[in-house]
Each structure stands twice: as structure tokens, then as C-alpha cells.
């Protein structure tokens, strides 16, 4: 059962991600992004990280994609045409091809990590208590810095999007 779910969500994630790149329409692309994020949340659940799956849906799918959609509608962004292949320099084409070849060869011949047994490994990510403990002991300073980061980001967004009176000469 877990295998089937893993395969379904993995397929959903990758196909929807391809949809983000391939869709001409920006609205469709953001909808594909939403679908891809749902797939990633499913993978998180398969990895026993329930809180992170929930947060991913809440923050990414709920807030970020909604913000993207809002801006796409606001700016009325037109679809675009991808760069035609004959415009890409020959050197870049050769290098990209070589990189993909080397990557595929190394993926199939080596780089196999021995997967630890999941049954014996404790699923620490499923425990809500552990997150709280870690965030308020070991990672207390990063949490505080993150709070300042959010405050600074908020101020920055206000400064960026507000039109100030009598500042035309500076701009």
C-alpha cells in the first residue's frame, strides 16, 4: 500500500512539475505548481513527516501559490514562447548534452546509497513534541533570527510597494 502511494505521489509530483515548465499560460503553470506541491506533501507523509506535509500545504499551496495567482491575474501576464533551439550556442548545446550523458551514466552505474531499514529507524519527524523541543533548545537562535527576517521582509515589501509622496526626485 505504501509502495503504491509513493509511486502515485512521485509520478504526480514530477508530471505536474513538468507542467509548470511546459505550460504556456502562467495561470495553468501556477495550477501545476499547486498540484506538484500536493504531490510533495504526499511524499512527506510517506516519509512520516506529517507536520511538514501540513505546513507545506498551508504555507506553499495555501499562501504562496495563491499569491502567485493573484500577481499573475494582476499583471495579466501573457504566455511566452521558449527560446528556439537554433538560437542556443553550439558550445552550450554540446556542454548540456555531455552533462546529461555523464549524469545518466553515473546515476545508473554508481552512486547507489545503501538504504537503511525503515522499520528499525525511528521516525522522529512524526513526533510533534520533538519539533518543539528542537526549535526551543538547539535551534532557538535561528528561530529568533527568522522572526527578525520576517519582520524585515514585511517592512521591505511595504517600502517596495508603497508610493511615497514627494520622493519623485530621488527615484
Amino acid at each position: 500500500m505504501a509502495d503504491v502511494l509513493f509511486n502515485v505521489f512521485a509520478l504526480l509530483t514530477v508530471i505536474a512539475a513538468a507542467g509548470v515548465v511546459l505550460n504556456r499560460n502562467a495561470v495553468n503553470a501556477s495550477m501545476c505548481l499547486l498540484l506538484s506541491l500536493v504531490g510533495v506533501a504526499g511524499l512527506f507523509v510517506a516519509l512520516d513527516a506529517y507536520l511538514l506535509a501540513f505546513l507545506l500545504l498551508l504555507v506553499y499551496a495555501g499562501a504562496i501559490v495563491a499569491l502567485f495567482l493573484f500577481i499573475v491575474m494582476l499583471l495579466d501576464a501573457k504566455g511566452d514562447v521558449p527560446a528556439p533551439i537554433h538560437k542556443i550556442p553550439l558550445l552550450a548545446r554540446i556542454m548540456a548534452f555531455a552533462l546529461v550523458t555523464v549524469g545518466l551514466i553515473s546515476f545508473f552505474t554508481r552512486g547507489r546509497i545503501v538504504s537503511p531499514d525503515l522499520a528499525t529507524t525511528p521516525a522522529l519527524g512524526s513526533s510533534l513534541k520533538l519539533y518543539a523541543y528542537q526549535l526551543f533548545t538547539i535551534y532557538l537562535l535561528p528561530v529568533q533570527i527568522l522572526g527578525f527576517l520576517l519582520l524585515i521582509a514585511m517592512l521591505g515589501v511595504i517600502v517596495l510597494s508603497k508610493k511615497f509622496e514627494g520622493m519623485d526626485d530621488i527615484k
Partner: protein
């Protein structure tokens, strides 16, 4: 049917990251490029959570928690910059936003 091993999760992470990178390189719309950037960020979180689960540690999960927060702030600021840019130049196509070139 692929078994959910660490390799499989890492393969998905790499695929997602590669798709996002291709999108950043190929697409011309600033908004879509930004979406592909988000895709790359999410791809890295998949690898972190997978390593954390298979090694029985907590640090990867906490790191993903931080990444989610920073991503939220980043998107807010990035979209504000894009809107400010659109107000000035009336376009979201990157090949027309070339003032800094030359």
C-alpha cells in the same frame, strides 16, 4: 513499481530540481521563472526530509521548517519587486528587462 528507498526519493529530488532549473533557463516570463525557483527549493526539501527519515535524525526536518519560513518571506519580497518592476516597465518578459546589460 518502484520501492520507496532512499535512492528513489533522491531521484525524485534530483528530477524536480532539474525540471526547475530547465524552467529557469528556458522560460521568459519572470513570474514563471520565479515559480520554477520555488520548485527547486521544494526539491531540496524532499532530499532533506528523506535523509532525515532514513538516518533517524531530526535536523533535516527542522531545516525544512526553516526553509519553508524563508521561502514565504522570499516570495513576498520577490513578488513585490516584480510588481514594482511591472509598474515601471509594463512588462514581465526577461528579454525586455535588459537595462543592466552592457
Amino acid at each position: 513499481m518502484i520501492a520507496p528507498t532512499l535512492n528513489a526519493y533522491l531521484a525524485i529530488s534530483v528530477l524536480l530540481f532539474a525540471i526547475g532549473l530547465i524552467g529557469v533557463l528556458v522560460r521568459r516570463n519572470v513570474l514563471v521563472i520565479f515559480m520554477c525557483l520555488e520548485l527547486m527549493l521544494v526539491a531540496s526539501t524532499v532530499a532533506l526530509v528523506a535523509f532525515s527519515r532514513f538516518n533517524g535524525t531530526m535536523d533535516g526536518n527542522v531545516f525544512v521548517f526553516f526553509i519553508l519560513t524563508v521561502a514565504a518571506a522570499e516570495v513576498a519580497v520577490g513578488l513585490a519587486i516584480i510588481v514594482a518592476l511591472f509598474r515601471k516597465r509594463q512588462t514581465t518578459a526577461v528579454n525586455e528587462l535588459n537595462t543592466l546589460k552592457n
